[in-house]
């Protein structure tokens, strides 16, 4: 469960990214966050894994208050979240397989178990045949699928994606969105920030539209 109530976020210099934002997302929901660039979509997504802290109001994630969370507790919050970043953050000094292994190393899985899980995640996104490749050799769509595999390998209950289709052609974008839907269907809560109107129209999901940091009703 994700719950925002009267959340404000202002950055140093006075820029107000979010103002008085309140909404609830139940377990297992698929929600799109839309709005123009600068509307506050990324900021909203960054509040959930405590990358940013709210300036005012309360953000609750699985019952935990993000605003008052102590620093040492943050890693354990993040392990329960799958993050797909706008800038991907793939590591090009290692193989596709090792990119997916990183979250499992972080959580300290047994090597044998980790290998099995990493393969399963790569299989789900259709990248198992490319496991030994360097991510730099993958196409844009494949790179994005790799990001998804890395995000889900630890079986998170919540999946957050910031503009996952931004740099993709429409066919790849459809593939990627289909994957998010598949994860949602097995019970994962999925939040996707996007400005891709076509995507929203095709799926008819619940939409939170932001404009200048406020929800558009």
């Amino acid at each position: 469960m994700i719950s925002f109530s009267q959340v404000r976020k202002s950055y140093r210099g006075g820029h107000e990214a979010l103002r008085d934002l309140s909404f609830n997302i139940d377990d297992g929901e698929l929600v799109f966050i839309t709005g123009r660039s600068g509307a506050g979509k990324s900021t909203l997504l960054k509040l959930i894994p405590a990358i940013e802290r709210p300036t005012g109001g309360t953000v609750l994630v699985n019952g935990q208050n993000i605003g008052s969370m102590r620093r040492p507790a943050i890693p354990y919050l993040r392990r329960n979240l799958g993050l797909v970043f706008q800038d991907q953050k793939l590591l090009y000094d290692r193989s596709v397989f090792d990119n997916v292994m990183l979250p499992l190393a972080v959580t300290g899985h047994l090597h044998k178990d980790a290998v099995r899980r990493a393969r399963a995640a790569l299989d789900k996104v259709g990248l198992l045949p490319r496991e030994k490749a360097n991510p730099i050799t993958l196409s844009g769509g494949e790179q994005q699928r790799l990001c998804i595999a890395r995000a889900v390998v630890n079986r998170p209950s919540i999946l957050l994606a910031d503009e996952p289709t931004a740099s993709l052609d429409s066919a790849s974008a459809a593939e990627v969105v289909e994957m998010f839907r598949a994860f949602n269907q097995v019970g994962v809560t999925v939040l996707i920030a996007t400005h891709d109107e076509a995507l929203v129209e095709r799926l008819h999901p619940r939409v939170l539209e932001l404009m200048q940091g406020r929800l558009v009703q």
Binding site: P49, P75, R78, D93, V106
Partner: protein
């Protein structure tokens, strides 16, 4: 516990693989640390060896008083009483000329010469053990010269005291050098780790985002510092060992001329281990300082 051990082992091997993957930088760093440790260690070894030479010689300087040939029994008794009262004299031992000859006969190289002697050419003598430093000894020597029936005053091992004073100075110098270079070692590690953190910036940032604890992120850098320091220690031991063997080639030659089989000794195995542990610890310290300073700066945005 098991998972914890496994993670440590994993990160240890990962550290070695990473170092092997960048052999040029690794060799360079290890060499720098090695030289920094080899200098004070070499100095220490030389002093240690010189010290062991001098400790074979009596530590308290002895003074030999050779009496004039015409000194009679009464003179000897009077002298003995007088010496026992002299300040700076610890013990007084009388060696008669007959006894001295006997001693000489027992020494192998002299036996033939002694046998060829018609009369005993040796004088009666007192051997004094003294106390006090080099200055007091000089004064005592001057005083003893003025005594009656003394033919010759010989200070046997005054040079030992002087040498030991020089050695003590040397030890201080080596200690200072060691401290300065230990700082150097820490600084080298500090910088290596800083560069390593910079090159792994993306990975660190990502790891934080996917739930890595600070301990997890720090650990590989601690290992890097530790392993690098220990390897530097090994390099220092190797350098000094080779230097010692080379020196020993000439020392053996020299020692043979003096009928001795003296050679420089190396550190005992336990001391070698202690040095490695010390080097590793300094590396760890450098890594610790660097990590504390640089890791917190990498915070995902």
């Amino acid at each position: 516990m098991n998972a914890w051990l496994r993670q440590h082992r994993q990160i240890f091997t990962q550290t070695l693989v990473r170092m092997a993957g960048n052999p040029f930088a690794t060799v360079l760093n290890v060499t720098v640390i090695g030289v920094a440790l080899a200098l004070p260690l070499g100095g220490y070894l030389l002093l240690q060896n010189l010290g062991s030479v001098t400790s074979q010689v009596s530590r308290t300087p002895e003074v030999s008083l050779f009496l004039a040939p015409d000194a009679g029994k009464a003179d000897i008794a009077a002298l003995e009483a007088r010496l026992k009262l002299t300040a700076g004299v610890q013990t007084v031992r009388f060696i008669s000329r007959d006894q001295a000859l006997e001693d000489l006969k027992r020494s192998e190289s002299m036996a033939d010469i002694v046998a060829a002697l018609q009369v005993n050419p040796l004088p009666d003598a007192f051997v004094l053990e003294t106390r006090g430093g080099a200055v007091e000894l000089d004064k005592l020597q001057a005083e003893l010269r003025t005594l009656p029936k003394i033919a010759h005053v010989q200070v046997d091992s005054a040079w030992v005291k002087k040498l030991q004073a020089v050695l003590a100075l040397g030890r201080t110098a080596v200690a200072i050098l060691a401290i300065v270079l230990a700082f150097g070692l820490v600084a080298v590690t500090f910088n290596t780790i800083r560069l390593q953190i910079l090159t792994q910036k993306e990975e660190i940032e990502l790891s934080k985002l996917i739930g890595a604890t600070d301990a997890f992120i720090r650990r590989p850098f601690f290992y890097l510092g530790l392993v690098q320091g220990t390897l530097g220690g090994l390099a220092a031991l190797a350098m000094d060992y080779v230097c010692m063997r080379i020196l020993n080639l000439s020392i053996l030659e020299l020692a043979r001329l003096y009928g001795s089989d003296y050679r420089l000794g190396f550190l005992r195995p336990l001391d070698c281990l202690a040095l490695l542990a010390f080097a590793g610890m300094l590396g760890w310290l450098g890594a610790y300082m660097s990590v504390s300073r640089h890791l917190s700066a990498i915070e995902p945005k």
